[in-house]
Symmetry: C2
Subunit: 177 residues, 2 copies
């Protein structure tokens, strides 16, 4: 059986989408996959949106550029509008509950309540990428819970470990809802 996922994570600068994809990449690596994690900076990056990508595969990754994504996760309306055109028709769009899905999108959509969770439940806006990651991984099944937890702990400041474990768990619960 072969596994191949092209995942794009987009939001505004400061939401930690690059770190989010690095953590997911490292969790996928721990699960035995080959992974390429990347971000392109060009004229579009100056617009204020930030995106990062990973390819997760059970085989060698020959061409590591993502044209069409299997999944887009977007945390801001701007990022959603900017990247929804490059999601495969049979792909998945994961979006914060506050966002409006463009009418052009007819595929599978998962709304997750990330923004209000970090403000109202955790009261720590900085954990937005980790809450999102918990939900994204629950939806996509990239890595087991333990591999993802360890990948998060390896990348966040030690003093925030406990908070980030709570953030991950809140994120996981968002999908179960």
């Amino acid at each position: 059986m072969s596994y191949n996922l092209k995942f794009r994570f987009a939001g505004s600068g400061g939401q930690g989408v690059i770190l989010g994809t690095i953590i997911l990449a490292e969790a996928a690596l721990a699960e035995g996959y080959q992974v390429v994690q990347s971000q392109s900076y060009g004229p579009e990056a100056r617009g204020g949106s930030c995106k990062a990508e990973i390819i997760v595969s059970s085989e060698e990754i020959v061409f590591p550029k993502i044209e069409t994504a299997d999944c887009l996760a977007a945390l801001t309306q701007k990022a959603l509008d900017q990247y929804i055109g490059s999601v495969a028709p049979d792909g998945i769009v994961i979006a914060d509950s506050s966002l409006t899905i463009p009418e052009s999108w007819h595929g599978r959509t998962e709304k997750i309540d990330v923004i209000s969770t970090v403000y109202d439940v955790l009261k720590k806006p900085m954990t937005v990428n980790i809450v999102a990651l918990g939900a994204i991984n629950a939806i996509l099944g990239v890595a087991g819970d333990k591999a993802l937890e360890e990948a998060v702990l390896a990348r966040v400041p030690k003093s925030t470990g406990e908070l980030n474990m709570r953030a991950l768990e809140e994120g996981r619960k968002l999908y179960k809802k």
Copy 2:
């Protein structure tokens, strides 16, 4: 005039080479270049070495995978030995002064005293990627000093800003020596 650089940064896990290339990518972006920053995780990543790459270009980057690097910067012997075979013959190898350059390499070599600087001068081993970055940017001329400083400050914890500015300056000085 067109500019194109394929740069690979390699060391052991924990030396911050991924963050190092992200910072250099963001400094190059501020200088007006297009940039792709990436890291591949596969069977080789399990060996303990860590590498990350950037492509900096004045034009659109069509194929973002680095096969042959224009420059390899290595912080450990293992990483140097592992990646020196994929440096272009007219490329540059930047290596910590403590390392032994393999006999197979006949191109330009720049030895920089990063490891002893972080232990003996700064007494902060965690700054190894930033010291290296100061030297690497002095050698390659990717970004101006100001753009690089701002890129570092945007990515390190606020409380470590001053320390990291010192680290960058010590790195710069290593190349002037």
